[in-house]
Symmetry: C2
Subunit: 405 residues, 2 copies
């Protein structure tokens, strides 16, 4: 895993791709001294596939493993029988024991692409819930008030709307909290949307007389649509088990505004390199498409290795950027020191006789009839560089050649 | 138990002291044919004492036993650990195992004063809840929605007021409902205030694929104050284990409007006798105090036997009705065919020179300075009878003697 596990700088762990740590000071103290921390990570075996949204937290686990801490991965075979009701308006069908076992295999195979298997214990909830009696349930339930549990956002919304919430669903956060007691977790990780559950674990440990876990929250990232939380059910996800070509292609399809966030939370590209790239893009010295290609290549590299990332890049360039380009394309020579040039496209096309009039150029632009490197251009202001292939309308082509002025 | 278990008339069982039977037709059918019914009665061993409020339902059990049905008495040793939250605003402290055992002894000793021990099975919740696992709890909880449980009146009030309801308290109605599944109850009994819990048992049996129990509701009777539900915590109760003298005295202290209701739900006095007594009182041929004495004597007879009831009556008459009366009391002869006379007291007293003026009589009446048979008189309209002892102010006495006109 070439791009993970290299950064052992505590400050990097504490800042990069982190939303909130409760309480942060205690966490820093315990990182610096004391025995290795037990890092709790649970997974819902009804959802076996890991996507980039999960990877944000898994990277944190890996970074902490690399400085000596230990991951306890909990197979949620009991909570899966209830189903986490988050964001759903109806009760989920329970899954069978066989499915749980099968899905746990699928999950761990993906999990250990990011997390260090050697520093991970895998435990099953059945180790403690299999012998959990009514007395234990009553004791557990007595720690929480009904109002507190119903305050969880998904519950409160459904309750207010009069949608049914099964009594068994209310038990989900209680059982998940009890996991922290059972494994004596020192730190639990979750997206900011898991705040309720993670804090419940902390509260339960305290009422059980244990040292309360640190709650470590990572950002929830939007999916490929650019707005809604990445999730399989919304089909806006990028699974880490997807083929190099698919993964690369999906990254290339995300809106530009996501690229920097993904680089921030999903790669180890240094802060200073990120700043340099941003400056270059803002100064029109770097095409944003190239930044996106960097992200895509890095992620394919992470999950499939260097060779796969090279091949995926080449494939993308062949299939998309040069798609259908004729072998011989007329060249347009432009002068540029930096190798790139900013143009007002409709003027540029008229200047080089690629359209008959500025208004024709504008109409083509509006209709999506102009492509640069296989991507439709929507803005009249555009960056071209050496090798850029322009397609104007159905049949006109041009390739940019840069000459030193 | 002389006054119980005599009435085997189905109509008496269905009508007398009954609020609602769901579904009534099915109940009648199953009374008339089929195997003996299993009559569920649970008790909360944190409340070991039985008072007249409970007796209303226990009499129904006894009547049904007398026509061949069977009582299953459930010792609620598990639900007692949660505590029925009804009507409380805070969580009850759990009681110890030793207390449960001790209280079960106390309870059954009282229970079998009304219910036939020979046709009763006593079972403990621990028989099924002792081996109840998390899987069972989840299955049980999945039958009910949160809104349904929170609709229970005490919960909804507390929730609306922002008072804490422990999650464990929500389990109380679920566990009580499961009792019906565990013992395969055919009929469950409860006061009308238990409607929620009893119907929950019916629902659960259905979802478990069992034949749903019949729900048999009896009236909740006011306590000695005459208005609020009889309960130990409000100290307006008459316990069936109280001494004959105390029981008799407490009955004599209840407001007159309760007497008919108590006779209806707590005795076997026939409908026709009740009607006769009502007519006599309304026609001023019978002093309401005598009706109350009939009730008191009957109840002491029920719980302590005939001799005790005779002694309690005599004691009451000695201590209260003739209290402090001097041996020689001046007699007032009045003419009456029926043996009783209706008087306007203030006029009557003036007529027989027991007061100096009507206004003095009125003042005494207002201040509670006039007694008939040891009871303060508040209304100017009053019934006197042969032997009635009047006390006017501190020192004036008179006894009524009736002569045939």
């Amino acid at each position: 895993v070439p791009l993970l596990g290299k950064m052992t700088d505590i400050d990097f762990i504490l800042r990069r791709g982190v939303s909130e740590i409760i309480p942060e000071k205690e966490f820093v103290d315990r990182l610096n001294e004391g025995p290795p921390l037990r890092l709790k990570m649970g997974f819902d075996p009804s959802k076996p596939d890991i996507h980039l949204g999960h990877v944000v937290g898994l990277r944190k686990l890996r970074q902490l493993q690399d400085i000596g801490h230990k991951v306890i991965l909990i197979v949620g075979d009991w909570t899966a029988q209830i189903g986490d009701p988050s964001g759903r308006s109806a009760t989920r069908p329970m899954i069978s024991r066989e499915e749980v076992v099968e899905n746990a295999k699928t999950y761990t195979a993906q999990f250990f692409k990011v997390v260090d298997r050697a520093r991970t214990d895998v435990v099953w909830q059945s180790e403690w819930f299999g012998k959990f009696g009514l007395e234990d349930v009553i004791k557990l339930a007595s720690v929480f008030t009904t109002a507190q549990i119903l305050a969880r956002e998904d519950f409160s919304v459904r309750y207010a709307q009069g949608h049914p919430i099964s009594m068994s669903e209310l038990m989900y956060p209680l059982l998940q909290a009890y996991d922290s007691v059972a494994i004596q977790a020192d730190v639990e990780f979750g997206g900011t949307d898991q705040k309720f559950n993670v804090l419940a674990g902390r509260q339960l440990q305290q009422s059980w007389g244990y040292s309360p876990q640190i709650c470590f929250f990572v950002p929830v990232i939007p999916g490929t649509d650019g707005f809604v939380k990445m999730s399989k059910s919304l089909d806006n996800y990028i699974g880490i088990d997807e083929s190099p070509v698919d993964m690369y292609g999906k990254i290339m399809s995300i809106p530009d505004h996501l690229v920097w966030m993904y680089l921030e939370v999903l790669t180890d590209v240094s802060e200073s390199d990120l700043v340099k790239m941003k400056v270059a893009v803002e100064g029109n010295h770097l095409n944003p498409l190239e930044v996106k290609k960097t992200l895509a290549k890095q992620l394919v590299n992470t999950f499939h290795g260097f060779d796969a990332s090279e091949q995926a890049t080449e494939n993308f360039e062949n299939v998309y950027q040069r798609r259908n380009a004729p072998e011989e394309i007329p060249c347009i020579e432009i002068k540029s020191e930096s190798g790139i040039i900013n143009v007002v496209l409709t003027r540029f096309l008229l200047e080089y006789d690629l359209v008959d009039s500025r208004s024709e150029a504008k109409r083509l632009l509006t209709q999506g009839g102009i492509q640069v490197n296989g991507q439709k251009i929507e803005s009249d202001e555009c960056v071209l560089e050496a090798g850029s292939v322009l397609k104007i309308g159905r049949h006109k082509w041009a390739r940019i050649v840069v000459v030193d002025p």
